[in-house]
């Protein structure tokens, strides 16, 4: 069974975005660039940030409407998203990758 738990929001930005740690039922888990974590602890302090991937996630199942509200809130912060990818669990297992 496929259940919805969050979203990866990719931003048109070349720097670390300032984002709330919590939005609705979601926690900001990490921000990554090119698949490498840059927030909350930067795995790598040398590479520039390009097209940051911001993961908001909830251990509980969420709805499509909650995802849409989250994305709207990101837009209201003045940030431009270029891609959003919903995060699912398949039979209770994460069906998405983790950054380095």
């Amino acid at each position: 069974m496929m259940t919805l738990h969050g979203v990866d929001i990719f931003l048109n930005l070349s720097e670390l975005p300032k984002l709330p740690d919590k939005l609705g039922p979601f926690d900001l888990i990490f921000i990554a660039s090119r698949g490498t974590r840059v927030y909350p602890v930067a795995a790598n302090t040398h590479a520039g940030i390009d097209w940051p991937q911001c993961r908001y996630f909830s251990d509980e199942t969420v709805t499509d409407v909650e995802i849409e509200q989250l994305v709207t809130q990101i837009t209201e912060l003045g940030l431009q998203w270029t891609k959003c990818q919903k995060l699912f669990k398949l039979d209770g297992e994460n069906a998405f990758s983790q950054p380095y």
């Binding site: 496929m2 990866d8 990554a32 090119r34 698949g35 490498t36 795995a43 790598n44 040398h46 590479a47 520039g48 390009d50 097209w51 991937q53 990818q85 995060l87 699912f88 398949l90 069906a95 998405f96 990758s97 950054p99 380095y100």
Partner: protein, 333 residues
């Protein structure tokens, strides 16, 4: 002058190979202060990350590392120690020199080229999703800045080493956006190096060209996935992974490694070929400014192979340590 170098002994046959290389470097009177750092299966078994943060920090602090082969554990959640090092240290340039060695018979005579592989993005960003229960989606990330720095590194290398040409390899006829960005960047950077001949080639055609016209190529520069594949193809042309060296360079640190795996089934048998790590160590010596020691060791290695002293993978019967001792005995001075 003493050089500080972080040393990862590795898994499987790694410790034997590293010991062999240490012995040759000692015999060549290179003064290295080895700083041992942990990584690999031992760390996983101890409940630590496969490359602990302390190891990353130490290599970052020292600036240079030599790494024996490591094993990527199979199973859910496991990560490659090699990719971890490259990503966390931002070692964006994987450099793989490929050249003929005396006594190593291959159909590819007078092979002498260098492959520059982008190391941090492309499909190796490993951003992947199940989009539906039956459709998977992997994000290929190519950036202008990521492309520019690897392309510039390739041209700078060509200029410094009097190489005649740099060829950009891509698949922009199909991936017109992602590989197209790499290709546009290649063409833009190439204009800054008018003395170096350049052209681009599609990756599948390049593979064919490599095994038919290898002498036409000096420096190849490409994206991460194509570089991974082409560099192993080229290693085979050189005589196999047992002789193919590798280096990973970032802005302010570098890690040198054999490109082969840890061959755990041969662990403790004193059997595997230390040449790949030894040649990687000579790349490290070059990086450290020890150019005479590099030439001395390369000369000794070639003399050893020329005499027919080889490990099993090259059809010989020398042991790992025996081969290293033979190389050491050929050193000058």
């Amino acid at each position: 002058m003493s050089h500080k170098v972080c040393l990862i002994r590795g898994d499987g046959t790694g410790p034997e190979i590293v010991a062999a290389v240490e012995g040759v470097l000692r015999s060549a009177k290179v003064n290295i202060d080895w700083i041992e750092v942990e990584a690999g299966l031992k760390c996983v078994e101890a409940g630590k990350p496969i490359v602990p943060d302390e190891t990353i920090e130490k290599i970052r602090e020292i600036g240079v590392g030599l790494k024996g082969p490591m094993t990527t554990p199979i199973g859910k959640g496991s990560v490659s120690p090699n990719v971890t090092l490259r990503k966390k240290l931002d070692l964006f340039a994987c450099v793989r020199p490929v050249f003929s060695l005396p006594g190593v018979e291959t159909p590819f005579k007078n092979l002498d080229l260098v492959i520059f592989r982008e190391n941090t993005e492309d499909l190796y960003a490993q951003i992947e999703y199940m989009a539906t229960p039956t459709a998977a989606h992997s994000v290929k990330v190519i950036t202008e800045s990521g492309s520019e720095r690897i392309i510039r590194a390739a041209f700078d290398y060509a200029k410094k080493n009097s190489r005649k040409n740099v060829v950009g390899i891509h698949k922009a006829n199909i991936m017109k956006i992602a590989d197209g960005l790499f290709l546009r960047t290649f063409k833009r950077i190439a204009k800054e190096y008018p003395a170096i001949e350049n052209w681009d080639n599609i990756v599948d055609n390049q593979c064919m060209q490599l095994v038919t016209k290898w002498q036409a190529y000096d420096v190849l520069v490409t994206l991460n996935l194509y570089g991974d594949i082409i560099s192993d193809l080229a290693a085979g042309m050189m005589g196999g992974l047992g002789v193919a060296p590798g280096a990973n360079y970032g802005t302010d640190c570098a890690v040198f490694e054999a490109v082969h795996g840890s061959a755990p089934k041969y662990a403790g048998m004193n059997k595997v070929n230390p040449t790949a790590l030894l040649l990687s160590a000579t790349l490290m010596l070059d990086h450290l400014g020890e150019h005479d020691a590099k030439s001395n060791i390369e000369g000794a290695l070639k003399a050893t192979l020329q005499k027919g002293i080889k490990t099993y993978d090259l059809g010989g019967s020398a042991t790992t340590s025996g081969f290293a001792e033979a190389v050491a005995s050929e050193l000058k001075g």
